[in-house]
């Protein structure tokens, strides 16, 4: 817009040349940020909300008003007030503090699942896409693996491994891996037909170097997008696992297990369920918006159909 304005000034024959060095660098610096915001509103909105949640998680000990595990039978089930901002639960614990600390577990589970599933999926996908004889076997295994409904698989795994945060992360990751592997394999197969890979092969580049230098960088963009969605999905899965009693133990509060503990009271004290639910949903929403934004930015081909 500003550029156009300047054009019309030139058309009118106004000499602007002496002002250019002063005006342009400053404007460009200002518009670069603004242009990013305007072109990628989803990344910005998602990123900002997620950033706030991460800050809340990190600063929980300082933002919290009291010990999230302190029991106090005298102040059970208080409604939200100026002293207990979100009220107290059935054991008299301060919900505001618990919700702040809960951000830690949910975000950790989300991020760790995204990382673990991406790394494992990347490894399987690269092998499958590059080692021809393994492709058939690996993909049949992935097909079977994917046929077990993910939440059900995670539930069964946690139930049998004993509930802990590490096991919740492992279980949800395992349920997520085949989709990642499928994605990476698809990208690898299409990249392998590209001229630059032929060129690398013709130049006698060793296979590991081709994978590292030519294939891997090109799988990063779709993998990051998929990992973002996996992160959001994992936070939801953690909540569902906690809700049905197969999640993280309630000694460390998570949004999932706060809701799970509030479920017996939901008709009379709905806020015990609804407040952590709101935090969780907003966080997952921000992660999903971030994923949509990243996909639009990194993969323009799929942006239209999304």
């Amino acid at each position: 817009m500003n550029v156009n304005a300047n054009h019309s000034e030139w058309d009118a024959g106004v000499s602007v040349a002496p002002e250019l060095p002063d005006i342009f660098p400053e404007r460009r610096a200002e518009t670069a940020l603004w242009r990013f915001v305007r072109r990628n509103p989803l990344i910005v909105i998602g990123g900002v909300i997620l950033g706030i949640m991460i800050v809340i998680a990190l600063l929980a000990p300082w933002l919290g008003t009291m010990d999230p595990t302190a029991l106090a039978p005298a102040r059970r089930m208080r409604a939200p007030s100026s002293q207990y901002w979100f009220g107290t639960d059935a054991l008299g614990r301060d919900l505001y503090s618990r919700v702040l600390y809960g951000a830690r577990v949910s975000l950790t589970v989300g991020v760790m699942v995204a990382v673990v599933a991406s790394v494992a999926g990347l490894a399987i996908g690269l092998v499958s896409g590059f080692v021809r004889w393994s492709d058939g076997i690996l993909m049949r295994i992935m097909d079977g693996w994917m046929s077990i409904p993910p939440i059900l698989l995670a539930i069964a795994l946690v139930a049998l491994m004993r509930a802990s945060m590490t096991n919740v992360i492992i279980a949800i990751s395992i349920a997520e891996i085949p989709r990642m592997a499928r994605l990476v394999r698809g990208v690898v197969l299409s990249l392998r037909e590209q001229p630059f890979v032929d060129a690398a092969i013709a130049a006698a580049t060793p296979t590991p170097a081709i994978i590292l230098r030519h294939i891997l960088p090109n799988t990063v963009a779709p993998l990051i997008v998929q990992a973002t969605f996996a992160c959001g999905g994992a936070m939801i899965a953690e909540a569902i696992l906690s809700f049905i009693g197969a999640g993280t133990p309630s000694i460390t509060p998570s949004w999932g297990n706060i809701m799970a503990e509030g479920r017996s009271l939901w008709q009379i004290k709905p806020y015990i369920v609804f407040i952590p639910a709101a935090f969780l949903s907003i966080t997952v929403l921000s992660v999903n918006l971030l994923g949509d934004g990243l996909r639009d930015a990194l993969d323009p081909r799929s942006a239209r159909s999304a």
Partner: protein
Amino acid sequence: MFQGLRRVIFYVLRRIITTVPVMAVVALFVFSLLYVTPGDPASVIAGDQASPADVERIRQGLHLDQPYLIRFAQWLWQILQGDLGRSIFTNLPVSTMIAQRVEPTLSLMIVTVSFAVSVAVPLGVIAAWRAGGLVDRLVMVFAVFGFSVPVFVVGYVLAYVLSVQLEWLPVQGYTPFSSGFWPWLRNLILPAVTLGFAYIALIARITRSAMLEVLQQDYVRTARAKGIGYGAILFVHALKNAAVPIVTVIGLGIALLIGGAVATESVFAVPGLGRLTIDAILQRDYPVIQAIVLLFSLVYVLVNLVVDLIYTLLDPRIRY
């Protein structure tokens, strides 16, 4: 004609055979679940207060004293004969326990799928028709939002507003189909809407994008030029050609419903397979967990097989 029929039969047979290795992998996974338990599976299943005799009984009941592959073969052979074993806790045959719980879950699934498809497809079609318009924006917002709220939270919000506050619908419970259609449906409305929430978002989103592609085709303009109304163009000509991705996602989304059913049944106290799953998990009733995971995976594979066959056979563009 005869040639064509033979090709169809061969295709169907070939497709059915491809599900065998898939189910074999599922079976291997489900069987191996027992080995993810740290330490001695028998004592883990028995719990902390079990006597050595109990542990030994469970060990022998699960044939844990034999090598892995032999046990897998034995187990698979039993399953193929329809014997799913006995529950460690109730000592009832697992197949009986499942049979008792099938109706509510099946009812919930059927009502959810019918409801979700009849809401999501028109929504997606209208969103694509008026791309950028109000419905489109709402559908897109809902498409992201639907995946950001855990299914049980949707359930509690709906139940709180519609049942506790407005008292329009029963809060919880299930009425068997044999007690009449309306009482049966009345109890299923809330669970079905809850369970369908994310599913609707998924289907509407795919319908929209598939329709956007189809609506750009020349024959849509031709149909319009011939004076065919928008309704007929959208829902007859265009939707038919956009059907493959939509039907595919309806099939794939069943996985979402199966996971969600466990939580939904728990919220609304529906005595179905989801409830059985939770009980089995809390008690570590291993044969029951195994059977349920296997059953749901089989249902998922079969539904997608049927979906695949239907559109392959109905769509002349697909060669088989």
